[in-house]
């Protein structure tokens, strides 16, 4: 038996290409790159200073006396809100600051002074303060210049004297 005619079989890839382009168009049009979400990890204990999940054990710090109570090692920072919910002013101890830059400069001074015992902080926030403003304060505390990651929150109970 011999072949009288050689048949050439052609696969039609044009419809497949059309479908592939339609799929590609769909994915391109619906593509939304996911925004990068970060997080601050911390232990928030009720009515007690917080301890960061990533923090070393307190006993590792030999520069401070072990018997120093937690209250003396806790830096209390109060955030007062402006009428729009943003930061009005900030107090650290008895000092008042108007901007986050001033707060950051003061915190850098505090953490670089080895004679000061502070290794954790309580942020007392005005109830009207927006979450965005509070997270900006947390950002200053947790930033690499300050790196004070043992934080806890408390509501500010009294209004500042006008």
């Amino acid at each position: 038996m011999r072949r009288s005619k050689q048949h050439e079989v052609e696969i039609q890839i044009t419809p497949m290409l059309d479908m592939a382009f339609q799929l590609l168009t769909f994915f391109i049009l619906t593509y939304q790159p996911a925004p990068v979400e970060g997080q601050f990890s911390m232990n928030l204990l009720p009515a007690a200073p917080a301890v960061s999940l990533d923090a070393e054990a307190p006993a590792a710090d030999q520069s401070q006396p072990a018997e120093l109570p937690a209250a003396l090692r806790t830096l209390t920072t109060s955030i007062f809100a402006a009428p729009d919910g943003q930061i009005g002013h900030i107090t650290v101890g008895e000092n008042e600051y108007a901007t986050l830059e001033q707060l950051k400069a003061r915190l850098v001074e505090i953490v670089s002074d080895k004679t000061l015992p502070f290794d954790q902080a309580i942020i007392q926030a005005d109830p009207r303060l927006s979450w965005d403003a509070l997270m900006k304060v947390v950002d200053v505390f947790a930033g690499k210049d300050v790196n004070l990651t043992k934080l806890s929150f408390a509501p500010l109970e009294s209004e500042p004297a006008l």
Binding site: A20, N43, W131, L134, M135, G143
Partner: protein
């Protein structure tokens, strides 16, 4: 000068490389295609904090409870909007469920012991602190002490 074409030339473009590229692109987009989960509600506009650390794999594997709080201070639970009372009840139920799971797993907690579950707090940037603190207090009252406060690394 005119010449006649004696043999018909069929010029067919080779579509195979094109198809390969298209399929590779489709594969890429299919892999990065994010099916929007109710856990990470896109209605919540997170605050921006440059120091917020990206989530590590070990944290993702841990037991966690995600709280999405919208701009009105309401909890978004599986796409539904809950009022404060329902939200606090939901947190209490989740705490009981977590304790039950630990008990079944042979790790029964003593009274007052904190739960190992991490609360992923995704709150809208415009919510006042007082409204978020209600949920934090509800979590603390039910034994949740481990929190992860979500923020964007950069303005999105």
């Amino acid at each position: 000068m005119a010449g006649s074409v004696t043999n018909e030339i069929r010029a067919e473009p080779n579509l195979t490389p094109l198809l390969d590229v298209v399929f590779q692109l489709i594969t890429f987009f299919m892999l990065v295609f994010k099916i929007s989960g109710a856990d990470f509600d896109q209605r919540v506009r997170l605050p921006v904090a440059g120091s917020a650390m990206p989530v590590e794999g070990s944290v993702v594997d841990q037991d966690r409870l995600i709280l999405n709080i919208d701009a009105d201070g309401r909890l978004l639970w599986s796409g539904q909007v809950l009022d404060v009372e329902s939200a606090i009840k939901k947190i209490r139920d989740q705490a009981e469920l977590a304790r039950l799971n630990l008990k079944v797993g042979g790790k029964e907690l003593a009274a007052g012991d904190p739960l190992p579950t991490i609360i992923i707090l995704r709150a809208d940037r415009s919510v006042p602190f007082s409204q978020i603190y209600r949920y934090i207090q509800a979590c603390q009252a039910n034994g949740f002490t481990r929190f992860a406060l979500k923020a964007m690394n950069a303005e999105g």
